[in-house]
């Protein structure tokens, strides 16, 4: 069997259904072997999008996403997407072609040392130097990508190894000695944390993306209901609890709701789970919940106490820890009576939800996003680009289920949302998928329109179009005396014409009514749709906590 065939067979054994990629000289043998496989290959127009698609596929489905590229520039174009996946703990396996082994190190045509370049962003990387090594390399890459805290893995396959033939044995055995056991919570730790929680008068839960990765949303909701504890999330945790749940406080942080950012300071016990206390979530760390006893649950021991000093810790996957906590607490708290804390939570939730916008403008991001939520099914998947659009989406678009709000949180990678939406749709063709976009971000990967149209993976892009790099412009307005530097994008391209030139549907809307009609059309027709929504370029995302301030010091 040739190395290329061995690779494809090994991918089939991992139950890979879809690969996002773009071929080139050093990976042609693999693409030839793919012709004889049932694996679907989705052709991209730029490799960065392939990595984002694999990432969106992974986050929507919980399975590992796969992307493929040739050597050199193909491989380096993947890197932005791999780092995006690493920062948000998304399982991705990247396969890259490499120049033939005798040429490695000689600066051959399209040679790049991708193993080294991607090293800080990959949990595992290997360059098989013989056909026999391929099956174990593939097995190990998939195993490690999804193990514990998920992340990217890389297989770099030299061209001669793709062409060479050998007898190949496939086995499910993992031979890596350095794999550490996944930590499990012990009863003493659980007991101590359960006690702290049951004694808390004002418990508060801060949930992050780890709870989604662990598929532990139900358990989290159970715990919150037992404790009558409000739940705020980080951006990555959005959707972990339905945001219309009476205990949901939305997201906290730089662009969290004013109410959630304030009330978290009143907590006496703060349970942070699957959340790494990032600077965007906590504001000024020294002043973040100084009075509360802090409990942290995380599968990654290096996250425990990395940013925030804590009082108790459980190193564990969220699901088993939450199961054990619920079991320990159910008897004690089954009949917990509502306290003044519950009353306060209810009150402030009402205040925040009944806020009426007094702006007379017709098309404001909050109105658009609330309308979008009203119109699309609860289970729809929404991705975002990065910048103002993302923060508006996190503030005003309520996520109702886990894995339905997909965004580049840690890396803040512009151009992520559209290819991630295509990846998500490929994983879940049964669900409508929307990309909440800004014009600046969408332009970065707009060529994925070709992929969406030709591969028949229809998604709808809603462009909140302010003709600006809006978030930078906002900072320049607020902190640089309105001196705009390099943020005006001009009124190009015409997104309707752009969409049409790719064979997609383009709609420009001028009112909420037209917007509703466009969304309804897109839900009915299942074709790639770009909805251009011109908005006021002066619009700020508020509230906002400036960098270096505590969450209590909110603008707006």
């Amino acid at each position: 069997m040739s190395g290329a065939k061995a690779l494809v067979k090994a991918l089939e054994r991992e139950k890979v259904e879809t690969i996002f990629g773009l071929p080139g000289g050093a990976i042609i043998p693999v693409y030839d072997a793919l012709l004889d496989s049932n694996i679907r290959h989705v052709l991209v127009r730029h490799e960065q999008s392939a990595a984002h698609m694999a990432d969106g596929y992974a986050r929507a489905s919980g399975k590992t996403g796969v992307c493929m590229a040739t050597s050199g520039p193909g491989a380096t174009n993947l890197v932005t997407g791999l780092v995006t996946g690493q920062l948000d703990s998304s399982p991705i396996v990247a396969v890259t072609g490499q120049v033939s082994t005798p040429q490695i190190g000689l600066d051959a045509f399209q040679e790049a040392d991708i193993i080294s370049i991607a090293s800080p962003a990959t949990k595992y990387s290997h360059q098989p130097r013989s056909v026999e090594e391929i099956p174990s390399t593939v097995r190990e890459a998939f195993f490690i990508a999804s193990l514990g805290r998920p992340g990217p893995a890389l297989i770099d396959l030299p061209k001669d190894v793709q062409v060479d033939s050998a007898e190949v044995k496939f086995s499910d055995k993992i031979r890596i000695r350095g794999i550490k056991p996944i930590p499990t919570p012990d009863n003493t730790q659980i007991g101590r944390v359960a006690e702290m929680l049951s004694e808390a008068e004002k418990p508060f839960i801060l949930a992050g993306g780890g709870v989604i990765v662990s598929n532990a949303s139900n358990q989290l909701q159970n715990l919150a209901e037992l404790l009558l504890a409000p739940v705020a999330t980080s951006l990555m945790g959005k959707g972990v609890i339905p945001e219309n749940h009476p205990l949901s406080m939305g997201i906290i942080g730089m662009h969290g709701s004013k109410e959630a950012n304030k009330i978290i300071y009143d907590a006496d016990v703060l349970l942070a789970i699957g959340c790494r206390f990032s600077d965007r979530t906590t504001g000024k760390l020294d002043e973040f919940c100084p009075a509360a006893k802090v409990i942290q649950i995380d599968i990654d021991s290096t996250e425990i106490g990395k940013n925030k000093c804590i009082d108790a810790a459980i190193v564990s996957d969220a699901a088993p820890a939450l199961n054990m906590l619920n079991k320990a607490l159910v008897k004690k708290l089954k009949h917990k009576k509502k306290t003044s804390w519950s009353k306060k939570i209810k009150e402030i939730k009402e205040i925040s939800e009944n806020k009426i916008e007094n702006s007379g403008k017709e098309l404001t991001p909050p109105k658009i996003l609330r309308e979008l939520r009203r119109l699309i099914p609860d289970k729809s998947i929404v991705t975002t680009e990065v910048g103002q659009n993302q923060m508006w989406a996190s503030l005003y678009f309520k996520a109702l289920r886990p894995r339905t709000f997909i965004t580049s949180g840690g890396f803040g990678c512009m151009g992520y949302g559209f290819p991630a939406a295509i990846g998500a749709k490929a994983a879940r063709p049964d669900l409508p998928v929307f990309d909440i976009a800004g014009d600046g971000s969408f332009i970065m990967t707009e060529n994925s329109l070709a992929t969406s149209v030709l591969e028949k993976i229809p998604v709808t892009v809603v462009i909140l179009n302010n003709r600006m790099l809006g978030m930078v412009a906002q900072w320049q307005r607020l902190f640089f005396n309105r001196r705009y530097s390099a943020v005006q994008l001009g009124n190009v391209p015409d997104f309707v014409k752009l969409a049409e030139s790719y064979g997609a549907q383009g709609i420009r809307v001028g009112s909420i009514l037209e917007f509703s009609k466009a969304i309804k059309t897109s839900l009915k027709e299942e074709v790639t749709t770009v909805i251009d929504v011109p908005i006021d370029p002066e619009e700020n995302v508020l509230p906002m906590v400036p960098v270096g301030y505590s969450l209590k010091e909110v603008i707006g």
Binding site: P120, G178, T302, K306
Partner: protein
């Protein structure tokens, strides 16, 4: 409080591993004083001894991040009181006349070093001990004229039957 920590790790003895480990030092911003690496008790294993400057949290994070690398089989912080710690240094000094030579021999004797190479103009000394001992030797003999210094960095093992070994 900032101090020196010694971490001993057992790692896969194969190409690229040192790169991945040192990559982590840089990415996470650790302050590395020295790294010593060589084949361990099994040929397919290497033992790496790293000394870092930092506080308790740095040391804990360092071990955690090392253990997250799949090429690292085990990583432990060593208690300097319960470990044998040694560094080897080769120090080439100017030694142009008999007086200089006899002075150098004297210091070498005091520090229990050895002269390993002599030329009409230089003497090369091998000296083994703690980092502090080698620092002291170099600072005392600097006045002769330091030509070259090569140091291995500290390497260490736990005293007694305890060990950082692969579980059989």
């Amino acid at each position: 409080m900032t101090k020196t920590y010694i971490i001993s790790a057992l790692v896969e003895h194969k190409p690229g591993v040192l790169y991945k480990i040192s990559n982590m030092f840089w990415r996470r911003g650790f302050n590395i004083e020295s790294v010593a690496i060589g084949t361990a008790e099994q040929e397919d294993l290497a033992r790496i001894t790293i000394t870092i400057e930092g506080d308790e949290k740095d040391a804990e994070q360092f071990v955690g991040h090392l253990e997250k690398l799949i090429d690292v089989l085990k990583a432990t912080r060593l208690d300097p009181k319960k470990a044998v710690i040694r560094e080897l240094a080769l120090v080439k000094l100017k030694a142009k006349d008999a007086k200089m030579r006899s002075d150098i021999f004297h210091y070498v004797d005091v520090f229990r070093g050895r002269i390993v190479d002599v030329s009409p103009e230089t003497a090369t000394v091998e000296i083994v001990g703690s980092k502090d001992k080698i620092d002291a030797f170099i600072s005392l003999t600097k006045s002769f004229g330091l030509v070259e210094v090569a140091r291995t960095g500290e390497t260490a093992l736990i005293r007694g039957p305890e060990s950082v070994r692969l579980n059989e």
